[in-house]
């Protein structure tokens, strides 16, 4: 289903060129010749060997909405904080701090993820799509007007995450049933209580996407 990927799955190194947390730790321990995990912390604090980042800020390049974007981050900086606090990409929100509520949902390599629970450095080389991308093209992705039309938002703070979770669901399941919509949004929480409109909005956007046959367009250049 389209619930955002849980942290352990997301931390698997998926591309040889990408730097993941696991990759970082592996490199560090191998360089120092340490095997025991008790030495890892010590190793990480020593002068970083070539190819190892941190503990201070390092410049990395993230591919966000199709654009190569340079950003200085610490190894511990999350993808969400890199976007919000360092790149002025503030659509995704920080709410629960720890991978529960979905307000920070982004689409990374085609999968919805909680961007608060993946490190920025783990996303080098991956295709990161944020909500800003849905209105970057000539025509907005149909999920955006569908949310407005169905009054699927109130305070709007969960909305960017809901919209991205919905987009992720529609990318994978272009013709969802009502039950699939309910389950597909199971990783996202709203406090104002906008689910009635949200469920309608996703179904309406699915209909619109089918009608226009434009499921892969709609400003998506990620």
């Amino acid at each position: 289903m389209s619930s955002p990927t849980k942290p352990d799955q997301e931390l698997q190194p998926t591309t040889p060129s990408g730097v993941s947390r696991r990759g970082f730790l592996g490199t560090a321990s191998a360089t120092a010749g340490a095997v025991g995990s008790g030495l890892l912390e010590q190793t990480a604090q020593a002068a970083p060997p070539a190819g190892v980042m941190g503990p201070g800020e390092t410049e990395i390049t993230l591919t966000i909405n199709g654009k190569a974007t340079k950003v200085k981050v610490e190894p511990r900086t999350t993808l969400l904080d890199a976007c919000r606090e360092r790149l002025e990409i503030t659509g995704a929100k920080r709410v629960c701090d720890r991978g529960t509520c979905g307000a920070c949902t982004m689409i990374v390599n085609g999968k919805t993820v909680y961007s608060c629970t993946t490190l920025a450095v783990d996303n080098v080389g991956k295709k990161i799509e944020t909500i800003e991308n849905l209105t970057a093209g000539a025509k907005p992705h149909p999920i955006v007007p569908a949310f407005a039309n169905n009054d699927a938002l109130q305070c709007g703070y969960c909305t960017p995450g809901m919209v991205m979770a919905s987009k992720g669901l529609l990318d994978r399941t272009p013709n969802p049933t009502y039950d699939q919509v309910k389950a597909g949004l199971g990783g996202n929480l709203c406090r104002c209580g906008t689910y009635v409109g949200i469920r309608k909005a996703v179904l309406e956007a699915a209909k619109e996407l089918r009608a226009s046959g434009a499921r892969k367009s709609g400003g998506s250049n990620a």
Partner: protein, 718 residues
């Protein structure tokens, strides 16, 4: 005086229409900027150090190591040595650094020594609370004991409880704030429900004139009654900014602190005795309740009992506020009402079962004890029709099988008259219209409804009106609390735009050759009343102003609202649930809500308020509960994983019916945000009791609590 009355229902072109909210696309595209998204140039970050102890005295605060950490930009101590800490999470210090990560490192380096003191964090047991409980005086009307002992009286006696829950605003409390020390001027971007007043509150904390604080807010990520003050985090973020030479400081609470110290709703527990005569007429009520609103104790008005049916002839009320070592309560969407609604409607449902009466008939029979019998009667019958009550309702516990189905109902009420509000309307010679108001749009649709009122008044399309709110430089408008915003801002913007239009009529009357009072504004034209042939376009009319725009004020005076807004509404909700008696899981099939809300400016956004109120009620009925640990004094589930909220699949189907009728319409505009959430908890709890045949006395209706009730292993209150 100009006539400010709204046009008759059938003549309205914009008011009463299902207009899509104006900021919907902005929010749905992630472009809406909340103050937690604001990042002025040079912004630095601050985080807090909070007490891990529920009760302690601060012995020492050592910040020397933090001051040497990379990026350190300043530290401000809240709790000096000697300060008594009264709840876990109470603020000890705030520290700023160049990045948030560095600020967290600094916070970890601050060493605090405490003398740990004994605490009380749980209030279910009034006996254990001892001297921490402060009883209010007993109130007696009539002779309840005589009612209970009267011949033929059917008496029900039981315990009920509803725990403390949190606001859990998705945008945490906090702000970005920049204090320019040289100019002694503060730019302030808080998450607030009161743009016009919160800057004054911050200024007071900093001992500055209110004039020196400029507050901005385009959007707020939820408040629900918890965001009226500038708080410690506002004061200390400002101090840190001044220390850092005026750099903007961003300080928002983490989720743990947000749930722990930024607002909760008081609990209520109690023992209720009530009686009816053989005809099913309620004759007596006696309740002994207690609750906690945190260290301050109070925060729940038991005088509302029995809720809605308060005019019962014989009534005795005892109530005790318990001071506990917990974060303070704050106003929570319809303060008092959901809790007392639950206590009352649950007890009435239980008595109806004892009387072997359909609870709907029992409620109908006793409407003479409510302030609006006719309204409630019509609402009960409408809701019953929507949920097919007469067809689906079965006597308590008679649902067959292991998954049992039940129906329940409850009634609610609220005030919701408009707050004090001022609005400025400008009509420019080029025909553009500017409306300025120091209000805020909490996501309720405030932007949209103000624009509708002005567009209706001036005969313009929605796009012909530019609305600016969310800035303390605009005319002051009230806090968004008590469902008072829609009444206040609709009245002030109506008056401001009528006043401006009168001036425009005066300017163009000579050209149209009639007195100004013979003119009307329709379809972007100024015309002679009822004579479209004698008209000029809006633009041409405004051009008559030459170089001087019209600038007019409008104000809502709550003491004299002139018929534009009133308070006092009723609502009925009914729930249809299924309960798995093997797992204890409650599933919502359907909730129906019938609500009277006066003149409805936008049925689309007001429906959304009701959906939202019902969904919040579902969350509280089924899953929300602050769990305090007696040993450590800490809030165990201060996160969003174990402090549960409902998701898209948990809410069943919801149907809303707004009582939009000429009788209600003529009462004027009334707020809807709060009344809609009042009856939901009680109607769901009653549906569960109806389904499984026993009462789950203390909420939420978690599997554990449901199974305990089914197996008669519920712990008694003491």
């Amino acid at each position: 005086m100009p006539n400010y009355s709204y046009p008759p229902m059938e003549q309205r072109r914009v008011i009463g229409k299902r207009i899509t909210r104006l900021d919907g696309i902005e929010k749905a595209s992630g472009k809406a900027k909340y103050n937690s998204d604001v990042r002025p140039k040079g912004t630095i970050h601050a985080v807090g150090v909070f007490s891990p102890h529920a009760h302690a005295r601060v012995k020492a605060v050592d910040t020397t190591a933090a001051q040497k950490a990379p990026g350190f930009a300043g530290v401000s101590v809240v709790a000096a040595p000697g300060t008594e800490i009264n709840w876990a999470g109470q603020e000890i210090a705030f520290v700023a650094a160049q990045t948030e990560e560095q600020a967290r490192d600094c916070a970890r380096l601050i060493k605090v020594d405490y003398e740990v003191l004994p605490h009380l964090v749980r209030e279910e047991s009034l006996a254990k609370a001892g001297s921490r409980g402060k009883p209010a005086g007993e109130q007696v009307t009539g002779d309840p004991d005589a009612a209970f002992s009267a011949s033929g009286a059917v008496v029900h006696e039981a315990e009920y409880g509803i725990p403390v829950i949190t606001h859990c605003c998705l945008e945490p409390h906090g702000q970005v704030v920049a204090w320019d020390g040289a100019a002694n001027k503060i730019e302030y971007w808080p998450s607030t429900q009161t743009v016009s007043a919160v800057g004054g509150d911050l200024a007071k904390q900093l001992e500055l004139p209110a004039t020196q604080v400029h507050t901005h807010q385009d959007h707020i990520g939820g408040g629900f009654g918890s965001k009226f003050q500038s708080d410690q985090w506002g004061k200390h973020a400002a101090l840190l900014s001044k220390m850092a030479g005026g750099k903007p400081v961003k300080l928002y609470l983490d989720r743990r602190e947000e749930l722990t110290i930024a607002g909760v709703r008081p609990s209520v527990y109690g023992k209720v005795k009530l009686s009816a005569n053989a005809n099913g007429e309620m004759t007596g009520w006696d309740s002994t309740t207690w609750m906690t609103g945190g260290f301050a104790g109070g925060g729940l008005n038991a005088d509302l009992l029995p809720y809605v049916f308060r005019n019962v002839a014989n009534r005795r009320i005892n109530h005790t506020a318990v001071s506990t070592n917990n974060g303070p309560s704050r106003a929570w969407r319809a303060p008092n009402h959901p809790q007392v609604c639950y206590i009352t409607c649950a007890a009435m449902e239980d008595l109806a079962a004892k009387l072997k009466m359909d609870p709907m008939d029992f409620f109908l029979k006793n409407l003479d004890k409510t302030p609006r019998a006719d309204t409630y009667k019509a609402q009960i019958l409408k809701a019953a029709d929507m949920i097919a009550w007469k067809k689906n309702w079965k006597p308590r516990g008679s649902s067959p099988g292991t998954v049992k189905r039940g129906l329940g109902l409850a009634l609610g009420t609220w005030g919701g008259a408009g707050h004090a509000s001022q609005c400025r309307a400008t009509i420019n010679p080029d025909g553009s219209v500017l409306i300025e108001i120091g209000s805020q749009d909490l996501g309720t649709g405030t932007r949209t409804i103000i624009t509708q009122v002005v567009a209706e008044t001036l005969g313009l399309p929605m796009g012909g009106v530019t609305l600016k709110l969310g800035d303390s430089n605009y005319p002051a408008s009230g806090a968004s609390g008590g469902s008072t915003t829609v009444g206040g801002v609709s009245a002030s913007s109506r008056k401001a735009s009528v006043n401006a239009l009168e001036k425009l009529f005066a300017a163009v009357a000579p050209s149209l050759g009639v007195p100004a009072d013979q003119l009307e504004a329709v379809d972007s034209k100024i015309q002679v009343k009822g004579n479209a042939a004698k008209s000029m376009t809006w633009k041409a009319a405004c051009a008559k102003l030459g170089v001087s725009p019209i600038v007019e004020m409008g104000a809502n005076d709550p003491r004299n609202p002139g018929g534009l807004t009133t308070g006092g509404v009723g609502g009925c909700q009914m729930a249809d649930v299924s309960v798995d008696t093997e797992t204890g899981i409650v599933k919502i099939n359907k909730v129906v809500a019938v609500q009277d809300v006066g003149l409805v400016i936008n049925p689309k956004t007001s429906d959304s308020q009701v959906y939202g109120g019902v969904i919040m009620g579902i969350c509280a009925a089924l899953m929300e509960e602050r769990v305090m640990d007696e040993m450590t004094g800490r809030f165990l589930n201060a996160d969003m994983e174990f402090y549960k909220l409902a998701g898209a699949a948990d809410i069943g189907e919801i149907e809303v019916h707004m009582d939009i009728t000429p009788e209600h319409d003529k009462r004027g505009v009334i707020g809807i945000g709060e009344p809609a959430t009042v009856p939901t908890i009680a109607c769901i709890a009653n549906a569960v009791a109806n389904a499984i045949g026993v009462r789950v006395p203390v909420l939420p209706l978690t599997p554990k609590n449901v199974l305990n009730a089914l197996h008669n292993t519920t712990r008694r209150l003491a």
